[in-house]
Assembly symmetry: none
Homo-oligomer: 207 residues x 4
């Protein structure tokens, strides 16, 4: 992979914030350069173009996003506990990378640009595989039922979070989460538990 120097990383971070806040098209290279305290020309100089900066940003972030959960499968805990851990990890990772998720969420459906998101696809596939393994393990132990569409579980987790976070001002008001600290706390507790319960119930309850 390409290595980025300090200045480049500053630019990437500035860009990430702005892209997630006002969108790619809503962000000007001048705004990025101002936020990163560098000259406008540096963006073209370092990354080639604004679009390539986005690509670099995606690569930069996704490369650090690979879930370090391979050992989860090896742990001697029940599949149910594994699911709980997996969901918590999912939420945690999306929350940590919420800016990038927001960007990707929009850019993936934007027909103007077609980013090379193979890296992201790989991550998703590997996560899906991990989930499938856990579920199959649970099904083999007769803990989980059989008729579940495994592929639709990640979108439920990711989608729930993304929707919740993108409409955070609405939900903050609805749930009385007056500060960002309260919101973060809510996400790591109530929200995570809700998702855990949801996925567990889906896997266990026969209907």
């Amino acid at each position: 992979m390409t290595e980025f120097n300090e200045k480049q990383i500053e630019i990437l971070q500035a860009a990430e914030n702005l892209f997630s806040e006002v969108g790619f098209d809503g962000t000007t290279v001048r705004a990025i350069s101002k936020k990163a305290n560098i000259n406008v020309a540096m963006i073209s100089y370092y990354f080639g173009s604004k679009e390539k900066l986005l690509e670099s940003l995606v690569i930069y972030r996704i490369s650090g996003m690979q879930m370090d959960l391979e050992n989860l499968f090896l742990e001697h805990i029940s599949p149910i506990e594994k699911i709980e851990k997996l969901v918590a990890f999912y939420v945690q990772r999306i929350y940590s990378n919420r800016c990038m998720y927001q960007i990707l969420h929009f850019e993936m459906s934007n027909k103007k640009r077609d980013l090379d998101l193979k890296a992201f696809t790989d991550v998703k596939n590997s996560n899906l595989q991990l989930l499938a393994n856990i579920i199959h393990e649970g099904q083999a132990l007769n803990l989980f039922k059989k008729n579940v569409t495994i592929e639709l579980i990640p979108p439920t987790i990711i989608g729930s979070f993304t929707h919740f976070y993108m409409n955070k001002s609405y939900y903050q008001k609805l749930l009385g989460l007056t500060t960002d600290v309260l919101l973060e706390n809510y996400i790591t507790t109530t929200f995570t538990e809700h998702l855990q319960k949801t996925i567990k119930a889906l896997l266990v309850y026969e209907n």
Copy 2:
């Protein structure tokens, strides 16, 4: 509410498509005018500005979005069946209005513009109320368990769909849905069932 004439509706539809495809900032008024087969100046003439066009669009779409589900509560069916119907209605409505949902999804998290989305908030609140009524009914009949965070159910439904649809190219490949017809079919059957099962399980299964 303001009434829109035929030409205005054509413009609104063209704008909706483009906004959902390439974003508000990624859409030029010339692209809209070309798609709607009208002169550029007509957009300012009819709506005042590009931004006001978006506002008009939101009003236009949301006003027709109110769920006609009040009678659902009156039907003599079990709360479980009500939930099934409600989820199916939800999915159906989001699918029908997927363009607008995509636009709103982005605009709600975009700090650049702050649309007056009171109408949309009202819709969400009324839907949430309806859901809460059904759940309370089920809880009163001891069909549903008590410890559920009702407010987090709509984001799970909406978020699951939105994420699924915004990443449809990924999921189409993953699930072998080679055509849009297959995709639509999948959504109305497997996807809907998945969500119905998920919500039902969450409400019924005590864990």
Copy 3:
């Protein structure tokens, strides 16, 4: 000459006000139509174009501007009194037609448009002739000195007024003329007397 109907005159008056206030280029036909309470298309309809509206306006106003001073020369008063009367008439007429004077003042030096201002030139020439006659009469009576550049007297009168009026906010403050009534009063008394004295002194005082 062309006759104008009531509606046309309303348009002309609205246009005159706006032209004098914000200039020809600064005035939009829509602003005129709004002020005159008529449809925008009427302007093109009645006058052909915005530019031709200006031409019509000039014709309309100048035709009523001809000084009715021919009898002044016949009156049995001294040339000095005639000069006094002439200056007072001048000021009065410019004040009455100040909007049109303001328009002409600017448009005459505007290279973009070359109005056919023959009518205005005729007026100026005839006024100059009248002035010259009075001065010659005074010189014949040895009341006025000989070495005076008659052609430069009208610009002194018109220019003094125009400059004063175009900078009226400055002079109102300088002279404490807090209201428009005070300003009008000042013009008809002190200002007029100042100009009368000036011209008389110029004509009489040998230096």
Copy 4:
């Protein structure tokens, strides 16, 4: 004050010419850019906007307009000669800055824009003060009469010139000044003398 670089001054000069010839609203930024041989975007780049360009222009010109006449009062010449010199200076300065005077003349009476013309007001006030001092000196020496409205003398000088110059095509024809050189010559001789005589007569002749 802000310093302007070479390119900026080129732009300012091009703008001044065009503004004085066809007015501010009649001038397009593209016309300025063409005349100054620069890219259109440079105008926004250097001055922010077309309107701010005008403001910069006014500041640029007025700052160099301050009359260097303080020593006039110290010279050991009679008040009459001082008036002569003052008028000549006035005419000279207006002639040198005729473009800016034309612009200001229009903009001061244009309700659309309200330029901050404090600098110009200061210049006018200081000139008026100088004039008042000379007149009071002459009155103390019984050379000048008492009943004169000093504040109306500058408008007579400035107005006479401005009107003359703005209608120069009329006066050139009237006075047979077929070339611009002849016109300039006329202004520095006959026209200046006319104004000197006028003001002197006003101050000296008791009527």
